[in-house]
Symmetry: C2
Subunit: 80 residues, 2 copies
């Protein structure tokens, strides 16, 4: 089973990587970009029997390792 975990910086947390990308885009003449936010997508192949246990495991892995819960939010999606 494939699990997709999307991790993004929480609203209000400064995103230096996003800022750097925004400046670089501006130098490449993309002048109409007002904000850039960067997140991570983690795709995991997991040996699970059902969608519910896969989603539970996704949340546990996100909270144990994949997301920094102080400054990041995450979403878990079980893909067939």
């Amino acid at each position: 089973m494939k699990i997709r975990v999307d991790v993004v910086l929480r609203e209000g947390v400064l995103d230096p990587q996003g800022k750097a990308i925004g400046h670089a885009l501006e130098t490449l003449d993309f002048k109409n970009v007002s904000d850039v936010r960067v997140g991570k997508t983690i795709l995991l192949d997991v040996d699970c029997h059902d969608t519910k246990s896969a989603a539970d495991q996704g949340r546990k892995m996100a909270e144990a390792l994949l997301a920094n819960l102080v400054i990041e939010d995450y979403t878990v999606e079980v893909m067939k």
Copy 2:
């Protein structure tokens, strides 16, 4: 308008970050994880008039800066 650009390593390209996460998950007793791949999600606020020009600009930005076309694939999604 908000554009979402997802960038992932092309199939077959070694993903050291994914490998490292896989090993870390194993030490945390998640023994049923067979593969881990890590990608980037870039969310851009763009001043565009219509969805088509936003999607075009998303592709141009991905090819100019956001994705390394030698080893990465990207998808562009225009969100309302």
